[in-house]
Structure formats: structure tokens, C-alpha cells
């Protein structure tokens, strides 16, 4: 199969539709799709014939969940002009419900967001975890890694780092749980207060939705939730010292957050709800989400512990990454209830013992190297899988 990418102005430039897209991290006429193919090692050609080539509608970070009207209008524009089209984002996940909604609405549409799915739930849902490729492609991201960080010391001033750049209910819930269980004092933490764009009512609602997602609701409404709101108002923004300006195209963490801690507590975005009756494994196999928040510390060479969607570590394990179960319990990973998962995760972090780290120092460092090699060796099992996934996706596009 010769893969051809469609252009209508110039090869290498994004397609000019009738309407302007927005939300792409890079300025037009930039397009990321061919850069991702380059990083995965897939050969392609350019074509100005939409019938034989892949038509990509890049929506960047434009959220379908809240901007469906605008995106639908773009989709209609593309489909009427070029036929079969991929609604593409290499930046964000789309909520599973919305993926089905838009695919059912447009029979000539394919959706490629940044999830990974072992069993895609629609024959035109062709997700790809683009952040793996973005982080190692200098046209998509500038990655400023430290050549080496200290993972051998057993006398570090802090236990872990936990970075929370942009306020979301799940990050707030983590901050709350870390504070409540007493683990916060052992850590290098960043936290951002919610922005002014949240109305008080909306804020209370989304925090309620997040923190009430728990098996045991005893005393929640009367005692626990008021305490949570009190914490929300009292918790200040905490920034890292000696940091650089945040930029979605420039990935950097100060060296000391790794040198001075034993592991990274990653706050990965919660971005799909799990029904209480659903199996977390099958859900994560269908809609696995991974971003630079998880990938960067592994690339940098640090043990990780992720609080994210259920089954995050299960899926990382499936992809070939090692978990650090000599020093940390990951039994929070498959808990369906979001707040229970956060609280169990924070308690697991609290029980970290440096004596275990010292005891398993060599194994830990071997695992760090294994994970780094998996991420950076272009012949690794991970990159072979990513190539297979993209080729399968493109095959579906051509065949349907």
C-alpha cells in the first residue's frame, strides 16, 4: 500500500478548507501528520488527488465536547469538498461518547484522537497515541531533557515530585488527598488555583462530581464535601522554583525535581467516566490515554506512579513498561471510583519507604533504563507496535 497524504495548496502544508480551523499548537500552514509518520518510520508520498490520498482535518485542541457545532461545520465542509476525511488531533483525546456521536453522524468520517485502543469500539475510530511521537520529533515538540539525573542517591531531601500545571478537578482531588493523608510534606509539589473563568456554581459542581465518585458516601454531603470546598479556597498556587515559562511546544522540567526525589507522582488527566458496573480493564484497553505528563518522566529516567484513568499502569505494562512494585503499591490502578482511586494512590505514595529503594537500587535503575530504551530505541517493541497501529489505521481508511 502506497500511503499518500492529500494537499491542496502545497505539500507539507495543511489543507485549506473553506473555514478556518483553530486550536492547533503550531501556526498554519503547519500540519503534524507527516511529521508523526516520519517519527514512526512510515513512508508516504504527497498527492493533490483526494480520491487516492488521506484527507486530514486537524482540529488540534479544539474540544469536540463543547465546540461540536463549529467542528461539525468543518467536517461537512471537508467531506463535501474532498470526500472521506480523518478528524485528526495529535494533541487531545475526544470523549468516547462524542466519538461515537460524530462517527454515526458522518459515514465518511474517521476519527483519530490521541488514545490507544486494543479493540476500537467503532470501525472508523482509528486512534493513535501521538504524544509518543510528538515528544521525540523536533517539529512537534522541543524536548529539553537533562542528559543524566541522579537515581542512585538514597539521601534525597524529598520523596516524590507531583506537578499540576493546569487546574482540573482530578488534580485538585489529588492535591486534597495528598494534603489529607499527610504525604504532601514529603514532596516537591506544584499546584494551580482554578482560573477566574470558572463560576462558583460550576466549580462546586465539577468538584462535587469528582470527589463524590466514591463507593462509600457516608457523611460525604454533610461533612466531607464542605471540608473539600474549604480546602479549595485555602490552597494557594504553588510554582516550581527555577522553572522556565510553560509552553505546550517546549517540554522542560528543572533537574532538581528528579535529583531530589525518588519517584514522580504523575497526575494524568481523567478524561472518561467509568460506569460503576463496567470493567476497568476493558475500558482502558479501549480508550487508553497517555500524555507527556507520563512520558516525560520516563524519558528523563525516573520511576513513575500515575494517578490517572483506571487501568493506566495496566496498559503501560501491556506496552512493555516496567512498574516499580518493589517500592510502591499500584493497587489503586483498577479502582473504578475516581476519588477512591485518587485517595488509595496517595496513601500508597505515603507508604513509600526509602529502605526499599536502597534495597532494590540496582533493579530500579535497570527498570529505568529498560523504560528509557523502550521509549527511545526506534527498534523497540513499543515503536513496532506504534507503527503497526498507524499502518492498521491507515489500512482501514483506505479499505472502507
Amino acid at each position: 500500500m502506497t500511503i499518500k497524504i492529500f494537499y491542496n495548496t502545497l505539500p507539507g502544508q495543511k489543507i485549506n478548507g473553506l473555514k478556518q480551523e483553530a486550536g492547533i499548537w503550531e501556526h498554519p500552514p503547519y500540519t503534524s501528520f507527516h511529521h508523526i509518520l516520519n517519527t514512526i518510520g512510515i513512508q508516504y508520498e504527497w498527492s493533490d488527488n483526494p480520491k487516492e490520498s488521506i484527507v486530514v482535518l486537524d482540529i488540534g485542541s479544539l474540544p469536540y465536547e463543547t465546540q461540536s457545532e463549529k467542528i461539525d461545520s468543518l467536517i461537512e465542509d471537508y467531506i463535501s469538498k474532498f470526500g472521506k476525511t480523518i478528524l485528526f488531533t495529535s494533541q487531545e483525546p475526544i470523549h468516547p461518547e462524542k466519538i461515537h456521536e460524530v462517527l454515526d453522524k458522518y459515514p465518511e468520517l474517521f476519527v483519530m484522537d490521541i488514545r490507544l485502543s486494543n479493540n476500537p469500539t467503532h470501525d472508523r475510530y482509528i486512534p493513535f497515541p501521538s504524544l509518543f511521537a510528538r515528544l521525540t520529533n523536533p517539529f512537534c515538540n522541543i524536548l529539553d531533557l537533562h542528559p543524566i539525573v541522579d537515581t542512585w542517591s538514597v539521601k534525597k531531601p524529598n520523596t516524590f515530585n507531583n506537578l499540576k500545571w493546569r487546574w482540573t478537578p482530578d488534580k485538585f482531588a489529588t492535591q486534597y488527598a495528598l494534603n489529607k493523608c499527610g504525604a504532601e510534606s514529603q514532596a516537591i509539589i506544584s499546584y494551580q488555583k482554578p482560573g477566574d473563568h470558572y463560576s462558583s456554581e460550576h466549580l462546586n459542581q465539577i468538584i462535587y462530581d469528582m470527589t463524590s465518585h466514591r463507593y462509600d458516601m457516608t457523611d460525604f454531603n454533610d461533612k466531607i464535601f464542605p471540608g473539600i470546598l474549604k480546602f479549595l479556597h485555602s490552597m494557594p498556587t504553588i510554582s516550581l522554583k527555577d522553572d522556565k515559562n510553560f509552553n505546550v511546544l517546549y517540554r522542560y522540567h528543572p533537574k532538581y525535581i528528579y535529583d531530589d526525589t525518588y519517584f514522580t507522582l504523575v497526575n494524568e488527566n481523567f478524561n472518561y467516566g467509568v460506569d460503576d458496573l463496567e470493567d476497568p480493564i476493558s475500558i482502558s484497553e479501549n480508550y487508553f490515554y497517555i500524555s507527556e505528563k507520563t512520558i516525560f518522566p520516563m524519558l528523563q529516567g525516573h520511576p513513575i506512579f500515575v494517578i490517572g484513568n483506571p487501568g493506566t499502569h495496566y496498559m503501560l505494562d501491556q506496552l512493555g513498561f516496567e512498574i516499580y512494585d518493589e517500592i510502591l503499591s499500584y493497587d489503586h490502578d483498577l479502582i473504578i471510583y475516581g476519588m477512591d482511586r485518587v485517595e488509595r494512590g496517595c496513601n500508597n505514595v505515603k507508604h513509600f519507604d526509602v529502605a526499599d529503594y536502597e534495597k532494590y537500587l540496582i533493579q530500579i535503575n535497570k527498570k529505568i533504563q529498560h523504560n528509557q530504551k523502550l521509549l527511545t530505541n526506534k527498534n523497540s517493541k513499543l515503536w513496532s507496535k506504534l507503527k503497526d497501529v498507524m499502518e492498521t489505521n491507515i489500512g482501514k481508511y483506505y479499505e472502507l
Binding site: L10, P11, G12, Q13, E26, H27, P28, P29, Y30, H34, H35, L37, N38, T39, I40, G41, I42, Q43, W46, L135, T136, N137, P138, F139, C140, I142, L143, D144, L145, P147, I148, W152, L249, Y250, L299, N365, K366, Q369, K373, T376, N377, K378, N379, W383
Partner: protein
């Protein structure tokens, strides 16, 4: 062949902690070799068994030619301790005479510097053009590219070309001299770094030698020295601070110019005075194939997606084409490329820039964009023939190491 990399402290760390520690761009105990293998997609294991593994003595940017005695002390120590070793630098080329001397003297020594050779002059010389890898590996270099540069603004570009020269060397000075000798100096985006000590005898000798590979008059040399004395440092405005691991050019140098006139480092061994075997005006193809040198100066503009012509060692542009890159011969003249004499090559290269025609750029715009994308894909797609060639080159080198 199972590749094993030796470690004596911890896997992933350099085996030598000594005089060379501050000569590598990354600080001790960082080791670049396994990162290079990762980018090439070569599998390996770590081993602390000296017998079955690759032992790397990383000397970084250590000046071999000036410190050969010191280097020999270390080579002897490491050979005694480890048996077979690779004298390794992923940063610099080493002079052929020094390599030949060391390889002939030490039977268990291999040398891997950053050159590319189709047929290396010695069976234990196993060079590898590391800069290709460095620019693509996040642990070795921070490469800051501009996602998209302006190519279609043919009516509004301010200059024909840019020519960047951050560090003073005789060849960059000569390029500056000849650029200023004609009409190009004032109309293009050109940087230049004055040497630190203008009155140093060593500096004057290096300039004299460079310009006198065929004797020139005293009057001519006085003019050259006057230029040296008077020409100021010219920097980009704005720019960011330069350091070896951080690769960045401001976007405007691409947006405002039609092409990059690249000043690639000249290798001393490929100048007229240093190689008496050459009897013709043009370098032989065999010589080019065996002595190719490429650095980030050439790779970065190609990666960024800009037409280019290189003023470098003889055959630089020929060799790029041989490696699969496309030259922009619709708009640029590369006739100077094989001229052996450095000064003559620079003169002709500069002269050829005078005939650049903006109308031709506009006329061939689509072809130029196709070539730019082709070159970018060749560099960035890990499944391209370039990367397959590089991977096979490294595997061949390691096979030589294991089988010798």
C-alpha cells in the same frame, strides 16, 4: 551478533572518569554511545564482562593533535585494563595522521570519530557521522526547530542568503573576506566572529598558510590582514545564547532569505598544504567518499527545510547527494564543490552566489518545495534510506570490532 556495551560502575554510565570528563558536552557520568544506538534502532545489552563487550573510551572534544602524549598514556592504561577499546568521540573529527599513528602503534585500539568513510583507510578505523544522530536524539541535543518557515514570500524576502559563522576559523575568515570583497557582503544576512587575539603570531601564521597554498603577493596579504584587523564581530539580532547541546536559529534568518550558504568546518588534512599526494586541481571521488565530514551546520538548515549550498571540504555537496539528499541546482550553482584548493573553492563558491536569480526561485518554487520536503523526510523519517545506511554503517563498525 549480540551487541553488549561494557560498564564498570553502572549500566548507562561512562567507563572513564578521568582527564576527559570535562571534554564531553554532557557532564560525567553521561555516556552517549547507547543513546546513539537507540536512535539508530540497534538492540544491545549491558555487560560487565570485559571479554564480550564493547568498551568505549569517550574523549569528547579533547584536542588530540595537541595532546597526543597525554592521550597515549590513557590509551595504554585502558588497553591494559580492558584489552580492546574504542577511542570514541561523538563530537569531533580526529586528524588522519594522528589516527594512523595510534592505530599502527596499538593493535587492540579502534577509533570512532565523527567522519563518514565508505572505505576507511585502516581496518580498525570505524568512523560514524554522529551529528545526524545527535540532532535527532533528545538526550544528546536540544533541537529547537521552527514548525514552519516562510518559503512562498518570494517578493518580500530581504536577502538572497544567510551565512552563519559563530566561531572564528581561517576558512570562515576567508569566506568572510571574499564575501566582502564583492557585492554580497552588504546585502545578505551574514554573521562573523572576530578572533580573540588579533596580534597572535599563531593566528597570523594560520591565515598566511591558508591564503598561501598558492603564493600570493605581500600586498595581497596586507589587505587580508587589514580586513582581519578592521572587520567587526557581527551577530544575529535577535538571537539566543549559543551552547553546544542547544541547536537553534531564529526564524527570520529562514523567512528573509532564499537559501542557506553554509560554512562547514574545513578539515586541516584536506587542505593543499597538508596533503602532498594530490596532484590535480580537483579532489578524487575516492577521496571524497573516504573523508566526508558533516556537522550540525549543514544538517540543521536541511532539517529546517531550506535550500542550501555548502562551502566546506571538497565534495561536500557531492557527498550529500550521494547520501540521498537533493541539491537545488535549479537555483544554485555547485560547480566549485570539487575544487581542491581551499581558497579557490571559497572564491568560486562566493562568486557563484553572485549569479543567484530570484526569478528562478519563483519559477521553480514547486520543485524547490518538493526537494525541501524530500530532504526533510530523508533526515527525519527513521525508515529512510539514510537511516538504514547509518544503521548498517554502525552495525558494520561493531562487527569489525567484534571480529577483529
Amino acid at each position: 551478533m549480540k551487541i553488549k556495551i561494557f560498564y564498570n560502575n553502572d549500566p548507562g554510565e561512562r567507563i572513564n572518569h578521568d582527564f576527559f570528563s570535562d571534554k564531553t558536552w554532557e557532564s560525567y557520568p553521561f555516556s552517549s554511545f547507547h543513546h546513539v544506538l537507540n536512535t539508530l534502532g540497534i538492540e544491545y545489552e549491558w555487560s560487565n564482562d570485559k571479554k564480550d563487550s564493547v568498551k568505549i573510551l569517550d574523549i569528547g572534544s579533547f584536542a588530540v593533535e595537541e595532546n597526543l602524549d597525554k592521550l597515549e598514556e590513557f590509551i595504554q592504561t585502558y588497553l591494559n585494563e580492558f584489552g580492546k577499546i574504542i577511542l570514541y568521540t561523538a563530537q569531533e573529527p580526529i586528524l588522519r595522521k594522528d589516527k594512523l599513528y595510534l592505530l599502527n602503534k596499538y593493535d587492540n585500539l579502534f577509533i570512532m570519530d565523527i567522519k563518514y568513510s565508505e572505505n576507511p583507510f585502516h581496518e580498525r578505523y570505524i568512523p560514524f557521522p554522529f551529528l545526524f544522530v545527535r540532532l535527532m536524539n533528545n538526550f544528546l541535543d536540544v533541537t529547537e526547530l521552527t514548525p514552519h518557515i516562510q518559503l512562498s514570500n518570494y517578493d518580500t524576502k530581504l536577502h538572497d542568503f544567510h551565512n552563519l559563522k559563530a566561531r572564528w576559523t581561517p576558512d570562515k575568515f576567508a569566506t568572510q573576506y571574499y564575501l566582502n570583497d564583492g557585492p554580497l557582503g552588504d546585502n545578505n544576512l551574514i554573521t562573523y566572529q572576530r578572533p580573540e587575539n588579533l596580534n597572535s603570531l599563531r593566528l597570523r601564521i594560520s591565515i598566511y598558510n591558508f591564503f598561501n597554498e598558492t603564493p600570493v603577493s605581500k600586498k595581497y596579504m596586507n589587505h587580508v590582514y587589514d580586513f582581519l584587523t578592521n572587520h567587526p564581530t557581527v551577530v544575529l539580532q535577535p538571537d539566543k545564547t549559543i551552547y553546544a547541546r542547544y541547536r537553534y536559529h531564529p526564524q527570520y534568518i529562514y523567512d528573509e532569505t532564499y537559501y542557506s550558504l553554509i560554512s562547514e568546518n574545513f578539515l586541516p588534512e584536506l587542505t593543499w598544504l597538508n596533503n602532498l599526494e594530490v596532484t590535480t586541481d580537483e579532489i578524487s571521488i575516492e577521496e571524497i567518499l573516504n573523508n566526508f565530514y558533516i556537522s550540525e551546520k549543514t544538517i540543521y538548515p536541511i532539517m529546517q527545510g531550506h535550500p542550501f549550498k555548502v562551502i566546506g571540504n571538497p565534495g561536500n555537496n557531492y557527498m550529500l547527494e550521494k547520501l540521498g539528499f537533493k541539491l537545488f541546482d535549479e537555483i544554485l550553482n555547485y560547480d566549485y564543490d570539487l575544487i581542491y584548493s581551499p581558497v579557490e573553492r571559497i572564491k568560486q563558491a562566493v562568486k557563484s552566489c553572485e549569479t543567484f536569480c530570484r526569478g528562478q526561485y519563483q519559477k521553480h518554487y514547486k520543485e524547490i518545495v518538493d526537494k525541501i520536503l524530500y530532504n526533510q523526510k530523508h533526515l527525519m523519517n527513521i525508515n529512510s534510506s539514510l537511516w538504514e545506511n547509518l544503521k548498517q554503517k554502525m552495525l558494520k563498525n561493531l562487527r569489525i570490532y567484534y571480529e577483529s
